[in-house]
């Protein structure tokens, strides 16, 4: 804030140390969970988690006896399916919002914003009834549909903001060269906002991967995503904290890594609208 260059000791006291404290608060629980997951179950309650006799026993048990690999596969199918549905339906819609003016544009755009704010509990009950009638309970499709209720409006908003960043004159140039609208979209606009599309896709993937309540309600014996699987470890095996925390680490890993990979672009897309507004 202040422009004067402050001396290093003072900076350490007023910036570095408070920042470290906040980071400790932020990462502490996560590190504690990791530490628990590499401790031996037998010594966990007598000596507490410790790093000195680290073991991967919990992780091997997770895949060998609990069948975590199947759950990972279920999560992967659901999350990827949601990404495909979310992105493919919203590309043309975002282009229309970004490039045309038409009657009802404002209402339609706000409508997509409004959908994102409906309480999940309002949708989860009818979706359950609907899936039961259609015989889709306990299938990947049911979860993909449920996750799409959030993914479609979200990706429309994100992509509109990325497409607005690409000058219209490029589409027009393409169309003077004989492209149709759709060709201009496919050959000019899409390649240019590919980084934005990838970031949006990854965000959808993360939210679907992390989703729990739909997975719990609409899933079942056949389709059990990682989040539900982690939670059921409590019921089936008393509370084995070593196993449970190992499951937590494995379940959280893909999303965390992806998030760190795209955080910069994603945050610029997410905050753009808010800062302007």
């Amino acid at each position: 804030m202040a422009l004067k260059r402050r001396s290093t000791p003072r900076r350490i006291l007023t910036v570095d140390l408070p920042m470290l404290a906040i980071l400790a608060f932020t990462l502490g629980p996560y590190l504690w969970m990791f530490l628990t997951s590499i401790s031996e179950e037998s010594t966990l309650f007598t000596e507490g988690p410790s790093i000195w006799n680290a073991t991967i026993e919990n992780y091997t048990r997770l895949f060998a006896t609990v069948g975590f690999a199947d759950n990972l596969l279920d999560s992967l199918i659901v999350a990827s399916g949601t990404v495909v549905v979310g992105l493919s339906l919203s590309v043309t819609a975002a282009y229309a919002f970004s490039r045309f003016n038409f009657r009802g544009k404002r209402i339609l755009m706000l409508q997509f914003l409004l959908i994102n704010m409906f309480p999940l509990v309002l949708l989860i009950l009818p979706l359950f009834v609907l899936m039961r009638v259609l015989g889709l309970l306990d299938t990947h499709l049911a979860l993909i549909i449920a996750n799409s209720t959030v993914a479609i409006p979200f990706s429309i908003w994100m992509m509109v903001s990325y497409m607005n960043g690409i000058p219209r004159s490029l589409d027009e140039a393409a169309m003077t060269d004989g492209c149709t609208r759709m060709q201009a979209l496919r050959r000019v606009v899409l390649p240019l906002c590919l980084p934005g599309i990838i970031a949006t896709g990854i965000y959808i993937f993360i939210t679907s991967w992390n989703e729990y309540l739909y997975a719990l309600t609409l899933g079942g014996r056949n389709v059990r995503t990682i989040t539900v699987a982690v939670q059921t470890l409590i019921g089936e095996y008393e509370v084995q904290w070593g196993l449970l925390t190992a499951g937590g680490i494995v379940g959280a890993l893909p999303a965390t890594v992806l998030f760190l990979a795209v955080q910069k672009r994603l945050i610029s897309g997410l905050t753009q609208g808010a800062v302007k507004g």
């Binding site: 202040a2 910036v15 980071l23 043309t92 003016n101 309002l122 009950l125 507004g277």
Partner: protein
Amino acid sequence: MTDATMPHAQTQAAPPRRALARRVLPYAMLSPAVLVTLAIVFFPMVQTAWMSLHDYVLFRPNTFDWVGLKNFRTALQDEVLWISLWHTVIWMCTTIPAQLLLGLVTALLLNQDFPWRPVARALIIIPWALPSVVIALMWVWIYDSNYGVANEFLLRLGLIQKAIPWLANPDTALAAIILTLTWQGFPFFAVMILAGLQSIPRSYYEAASIDGASPWRQFWHITLPGISGVMVTAVLLRTIWVANSFDVIFVMTGGGPGYATYTLPLFAFVKARTNLDFGYGSAIAVLFTLLLMLVVVVYLKRTGKAVS
């Protein structure tokens, strides 16, 4: 953001058939997304409202009797509804300000110059990326009455005399969950506010320090007005999200002990899930949505201005 002049100028010159095609094109491009959301969002939503007017219990699938507003009347006389509403209010009025404050401090720190800033900025958002189930279980383990690190930490510091069963004690359960939710949500505020801070021109601060304004006065007169817009947006968005998400509570306590951590969306969900009373659950969900719409309307008004 958008301009209408270009397509219109062309419409006049183009032959009528192409003009029609051009007018239909945006709607054609929108239709897949609109039709699908109609089917998977609006139709179910109307169905909830419809179910809330019926006696509909899932283990008696053949009875779907019209009862009018009976479910709503029962709900309003239900003591648990008022307990849940009260908790929802406490929960919102503590979680959001705590997240905002911690987020603001974090953003101000991240806006300073220090060597490991990019690392700090990347790590601070980790809670945001974690699945809420994992967050909930992680904190259940931290709060564990026998082996939890929270008790051990506080005992060592001498702040408490004996271990406290944080989640099993009705007096501390809600507070413990609020701390967890604060932890989960403050990075969102930090990131939003940081973006706001970076949009304030540096020249404002230069001018102010030439005029001899103290750092505190600079904060009060330049920084705060500069980020107030972002903060309001962030608070509204977060209010909506926090109100909607009850998965962390559901996993941590399931609403208990007793009704100590019941909130409205959780109440609706539990009613439908454990009692299979979809009519009643829908009625509570509808009531909750109506309340939430008050916040949503404010947010939409702000965004609506930005869109046009």
